[in-house]
Amino acid sequence: MSDRATLGRPPALLWVPAALAVVFLAVPLLALVLATPWSSLLADLRSPDVLAALRLSAQTSLATVVACLVLGTPLAWVLARVDFPGRGLVRALVTVPLVLPPVVAGVALIAALGRSGLVGGPLDAATGLTLPFTTAAVVVAHTFVSLPFYVISVEGALRSAGEGFDEVAAGLGATRWYTFRRVTLPLALPGVVAGSVLAWARSLGEFGATVTFAGNYPGTTQTMPSRIYAVYLADPEAARTLAMILLLVSVGVLALLRNRWLTTGAAPRVGTGVVA
């Protein structure tokens, strides 16, 4: 850092707001830690309702990540590699859920997939299947809000991995699918992992779209955030313990992933080597 010192002291106009931002972000978490009735934490962890909500959150967030991998990776590839008319429009469309309030997303999902919805109506008439207020609906809602994070992250990684390697692979006799499998995807792996973590985190915290589209039924659609909100309405004190549990789980998983994956820099380009 000594070489940076030669540039002069950091201006107060920058470091004072920076310090304020840190305080602003840290104080609520600190308050939560201080206010948590730690003695009841273990007892709460053993309660069937909390366990059910935790299990459901784990299952639905993982299912969301899988859905993002299966649907989002091809979409990211198409956006990064295929020049088709309306690509800009599709990319804009993909980013809309990023700025959409989650409740609005829930209402939109009902309009589309509800029992009398655009798609849900015919589906109900044809098969008798209805989506809302099922565990599947939770995954649908989560995927709807998480997919954009995933696609944007992976598209960026695919772009920076460059088309140069695609051409090299094609020249060596590879089909596009073989190239995708053996070259493009491995090189974009850091982006895929980062996108998965983003999607997973978004899914774990998702509340608005879920309660609107899937409801808040313990055991089938009540995820941890919904559980926390339900408990909070009845007993604000008890909600702190649950909030603490969710905080610990998410921070723990992020900490585990961070060392291995999230510090990875930009994907390699043609002409530069990477030592694993």
């Binding site: 140069g164 020249g171 089909t175």
Partner: protein, 348 residues
């Protein structure tokens, strides 16, 4: 013709007819932006363009009608900067093309090992590109291109970015490999040494057109473009209405005043200013920017004693002259007659 027959027309970038026999090493030279890499990409099928623009036939088989995808062409392309797959080790890089064509894993690896061994990097099979030096990576890249038994080998500046010593060694080895390679090679380079050491044919591109074609020795002896003249270290000046004159820098004499022409020995002479003075071999190479209707710049090789005696340093006015006996004169326009027009002479 069993080798390479190509008529290329990429609007605004390249318009050239390219011919080479099997076993030929066609060296392509030209200034930056003259279309060298475009030519290689065309042959590899990496530029969009229908058969109307690009006609390529290799080994008697047409690659452009119907248009073959890059992966269906039997081509080995070593792009500039190697572009080895960074996540695969050297062996997997070389085996990639075979695996992509459905060769079974075991066989592909054996072939890759043999190819790496041939290029002298067999012991590095398990290293990733990031753990290889520039010369080693280039050897792996060449092994990768050769592993699929291409009929057409494309090399884009294979020695660029390598240390001088490494490049020299690799050049010698490559010459040996190319001598045993049965297909046609097209090699793009910036270096006259590459052309003379490796080439059997030479093609000079300028502004996307073929400016000159011939054996490397012919082109080096009678360059038609300033670029090639500079590459081979010759002075090239216009002479007469449609002629060129080439002469070595060592044939140039510098003097402070206008040289008097002894009767019977005509001399070419120009007036100019010394631009640069650099050591060259056991003498000094002086670059003179000429004024008037001569060439832009002339090179003169003089002795260190002459530099001191004439006080040659940048800015000094001098006269440069060349003995007529040391000058090769030849017509300039032949390039246009020799360059085949697009889509004529196809299949001969």
């Amino acid at each position: 013709m069993s080798g390479l027959v190509a008529d290329l027309d990429v609007p605004g970038r390249l318009r050239a007819a390219v011919r080479a026999e099997e076993g030929d090493v066609l060296v392509v030279v030209g200034p930056n932006g003259s279309g060298k890499t475009t030519l290689l990409r065309c042959l590899a099928g990496l530029l969009p363009g229908g058969p109307a623009e690009v006609a390529v036939a290799v080994g008697g088989r047409c690659w452009t009608s119907p248009l073959l995808l890059p992966r269906d062409r039997r081509v080995g392309y070593v792009v500039q900067g190697q572009a080895l797959f960074p996540h695969l080790d050297a062996r997997e890089n070389v085996a990639f093309g075979l695996r992509a064509r459905g060769v079974e894993r075991r066989a592909a690896r054996d072939r890759a090992d043999a190819e790496l061994e041939r290029l002298g990097v067999g012991h590095l099979a398990e290293r990733r590109p990031g753990e290889l030096s520039g010369g080693q990576a280039q050897r792996v890249a060449i092994a990768r291109a050769l592993a699929t038994d291409p009929e057409l080998l494309l090399l884009d500046e294979p020695f660029a970015g390598l240390d001088v010593g490494v490049a020299a060694t690799l050049r010698v080895e490559l010459a040996r490999h190319l001598a045993t390679y049965g297909g046609t090679t097209v090699l793009v380079t910036h270096d006259a040494v590459d052309a003379l050491a490796l080439g059997t044919r030479m093609l000079v591109l300028e502004d996307g057109r073929v400016a000159q074609e011939g054996t490397p020795a012919e082109v080096a002896a009678r360059p038609r473009t300033d670029h090639v003249a500079r590459l081979v270290g010759l002075n090239l000046v216009p002479a007469g209405p449609a002629g060129l004159a080439a002469f070595r820098p060592s044939a140039v004499t510098l003097s402070p005043g206008a040289p008097t022409a002894p009767s019977g020995s005509a001399r070419l002479r120009w007036r100019g200013r010394v631009e640069q003075v650099v050591p060259y071999g056991d003498g000094v190479r002086v670059s003179v920017r000429t004024s008037g209707d001569g060439p832009d710049a002339l090179l003169a090789d003089v002795t260190a004693a002459a530099v001191a005696e004439l006080g040659l340093h940048p800015g000094v006015e001098v006269w440069a002259s060349a003995k007529e006996t040391a000058v090769t004169r030849y017509p300039a326009g032949a390039a246009d007659d020799a360059a085949p027009t697009l889509r004529s002479g196809h299949g001969d």
